[in-house]
């Protein structure tokens, strides 16, 4: 504790880096999941509900089995079920994917709160973290470089997806289906099936994002665990232009900006707390305005995506 004042204001950027890594992981998983889904031409706004259910189910399983990793797997499984349901319902003619997503947001969080009541009290084992700060004597550096394993897995998934979309047959298939249902049918693909699987994969990743919330940071299960991260992450995919690597940077940026308020508070600056809380949103909006252009609106958007049509 005595170190806190020793490094003075240097604590702020360090806390932001640490915070960026800590806070960004759920955004990363949800946005990567949604990236897969949206690339296939569907939008699943229900990932907020999936995230919350993932947080609850992951925590419950970890409490009962004493294994956080089984919790993560369970959260991915339940997330996949939600994804499969969304994908299956949206297969039917004239069912609106955005609307079903909003209803599933309600249903997912409702089910999570319903079954999660007994798990608010018990303590689950945390997910492990790797200390990349072992070389440093300074406490804050070590805290900032405590990197959770899921963050690293998320980074690997982002790289893998970027490669997969570009260079694999499956990736190309998803993209073709996302760009034109008719073209996909013409070459013998089954758009509904591919979208079903893409939405299931998206749900599974969102479930893992939820497990991170309850099993690492903040690391407990309660009904206020998500402050809209799931919904925000879905929006961030649009900002990331459907590119998994961009999803990684956007999540990191968003997490870092979100850590600004608490970081300044830790060095005694608490004036205008709520305005600092808005920093990630202001930053994202500013970047969004700066990078948008009225003439080439959403070039990289999947052609079948209802939200950008």
């Amino acid at each position: 504790m005595s170190d806190v004042t020793d490094i003075g204001l240097w604590g702020v950027p360090l806390a932001i880096i640490g915070g960026a890594i800590r806070v960004s992981t759920p955004f990363l998983f949800v946005s990567l999941g949604e990236c897969i889904t949206e690339r296939s031409g569907r939008i699943n706004l229900g990932l907020e509900g999936t995230l919350i259910f993932g947080a609850m189910s992951g925590y419950a399983i970890a409490v009962n089995t004493q294994s956080p990793w089984l919790g993560v797997l369970g959260a991915a499984f339940f997330g996949m079920i939600f994804g499969l349901f969304h994908g299956w319902v949206c297969k039917f003619k004239s069912v609106n994917d955005i609307a079903i997503g909003i209803a599933l947001m309600l249903l997912g969080s409702g089910l999570a709160f319903f079954f999660g009541k007994p798990y608010i009290q018990p303590v689950a084992p945390d997910l492990p973290a790797i200390s990349f700060g072992w070389w440093s004597e300074i406490e804050q550096v070590r805290t900032a470089l405590q990197v959770n394993v899921l963050f690293i897995i998320g980074l690997i998934i982002a790289l893998f997806l970027a490669w997969g979309f570009k260079s694999t047959k499956i990736g190309l298939t998803v993209r073709v289906v996302g760009d034109s249902t008719d073209a996909a049918r013409a070459i013998g693909l089954e758009p509904d099936k591919i979208r079903l699987l893409s939405t299931a994969a998206g749900g599974a990743l969102a479930g893992i994002g939820g497990a991170y919330l309850s099993l690492y940071y903040p690391g407990s299960w309660n009904e206020g665990i998500s402050s809209g991260q799931g919904l925000m992450a879905v929006a961030l995919v649009i900002f990331a232009r459907w590119n998994p690597i961009n999803c990684f940077w956007v999540a990191l940026l968003f997490g870092g900006a979100g850590a600004l308020g608490p970081a300044l508070q830790s060095v005694g600056i608490s004036e205008g707390y709520y305005l600092f809380f808005a920093a990630p949103y202001v930053l994202t909006l500013g970047l969004l305005i700066a990078t948008s252009s009225p003439n080439k609106a959403m070039d990289s958007a999947p052609g079948e995506l209802s939200i950008t049509k």
């Binding site: 089910l111 929006a235 709520y274 808005a278 948008s292």
Partner: protein, 369 residues
């Protein structure tokens, strides 16, 4: 040949009824879907060892039976009607605006902050000022979303969501600093409004404030605007295909900014009623998520302003029954969320049924005759 033999008179009268048959579809299918949702939820309750009949009896009792339950339901409905319009109106232009919560929050702060300074002004003068300032604040906020969309190509869904979070941060900041009533210790609020600036109950025997009527009127006027005016017709064309509308010389930019601003104004008015009729000052209770519930309602209503009314009342009634179900059936408060989730998924799923029943088509009845 037989059909030709029918007399003009009888064919005319049957045509009058026939005109309504396809519209029946829009009533019959949602009712069927709601019943399916009830059945699925009943299975859920039976699996938990609870009685579905008790549950539905309690929902009816708490939400829709007595004057008191209607009072509870309709009071909850008021802000939701207005919040849903903030989604439904821009949707006519093909825009998915999900940030109405921001306009509600800022509208409420505008009404609360200005109202706090108008302590000695008569209500006749002050109320229109508060009403307009809330509406204009909301109109500016969501209109800005439309402006960014048309002038800068910024996606309105993400912009409106980001701006909702920003609006809530600004509102919290203003309530806790500049406009804070020093007397509000535990819960930061603006100064309490004087009695003259409070909106009371409507003279209908139950304690439901005027915001509900405002919501009804807003829904009806919005429906007329969209369905019966040239302006609404232009908006629907632009919503179908922006390029085509531009080629036709329609003022697409003005339509987009106008409709988003109108939606924002209506959400701002929801904030006005929350402050003047419910809380008596602007505080964090005002942004209780009505904006997000409004998104769901608008999509359930297929962005039809008139359909918003029954759906909102149904939803509000469900929510009104939450407390009673918790107490009487020993179920957690989230039960109602699960119930609503299942019913709404069923309603949205049922959209695939439209046009599939010959029963609802003219031809079916003509062939019979």
């Amino acid at each position: 040949m037989k059909e030709l033999a029918t007399t003009p008179l009888s064919s005319q009268s049957s045509l009058g009824i026939l005109k309504w048959v396809p519209r029946l579809e829009f009533v019959a299918i949602p009712i069927f879907a709601v019943i399916c949702g009830f059945l699925i939820f009943s299975v859920f309750l039976i699996l938990l060892g609870k009685s579905p009949t008790d549950f539905f009896a309690l929902v009816y009792k708490a939400g829709f039976s007595t004057a008191f339950s209607w009072q509870n339901t309709l009071s909850r409905a008021a802000p939701l009607l207005l919040a849903a319009l903030c989604v439904a109106l821009p949707a006519k232009l093909g825009l998915v605006v999900i940030g109405g919560e921001g306009a509600i929050a800022l509208g409420a702060v505008a009404a609360g902050a200005i109202g706090a300074y108008l302590t000695n002004v008569s209500g006749v003068i002050a109320m229109p000022i508060l009403f307009l300032s809330a509406a204009l604040t909301g109109a500016f906020w969501i209109g800005l979303v439309g402006f960014l969309r048309i002038k800068r190509g910024v996606n309105e869904t993400i912009a409106s969501l980001l701006m909702a979070y920003i609006a809530i941060a600004i509102s919290n900041h203003l309530i806790e600093s500049v406009f804070r009533d020093p007397a509000s210790l535990n819960k930061p609020s603006t100064a309490s409004l004087s009695e003259a600036l409070r909106v009371g109950a409507m003279p209908i025997g139950i304690d439901v404030h005027w915001g509900f009527l405002a919501g009804l009127i807003a829904c009806i006027v919005s429906w007329i605007l969209v369905e019966k005016t040239t302006l609404g017709f232009s908006a629907r064309i632009a919503g179908g295909n922006i390029r085509a509308a531009q080629v036709q010389g329609l003022p697409v930019a003005k339509l987009i900014i106008g409709f988003t601003a109108l939606g924002g104004a209506i959400a701002g008015i929801a904030g006005f009623y929350e402050v003047t009729a419910v809380h008596g000052s602007a505080n964090a209770s005002v942004f209780a998520g009505y904006g997000y519930t409004g998104i769901l309602i608008a999509f359930l209503a297929r962005h039809n302003a008139l359909a918003i009314i029954p759906i909102t009342i149904m939803l509000a009634g469900f929510e009104a029954s939450s407390g009673l179900i918790q107490r009487r059936m020993d179920l957690p408060d989230a039960t109602i969320l699960v119930f609503e989730g299942i019913v709404f998924v069923a309603i949205l799923f049922s959209e695939t049924l439209y046009g599939r029943f010959r029963f609802f088509k003219h031809e079916y009845w003509k062939a019979d005759a």
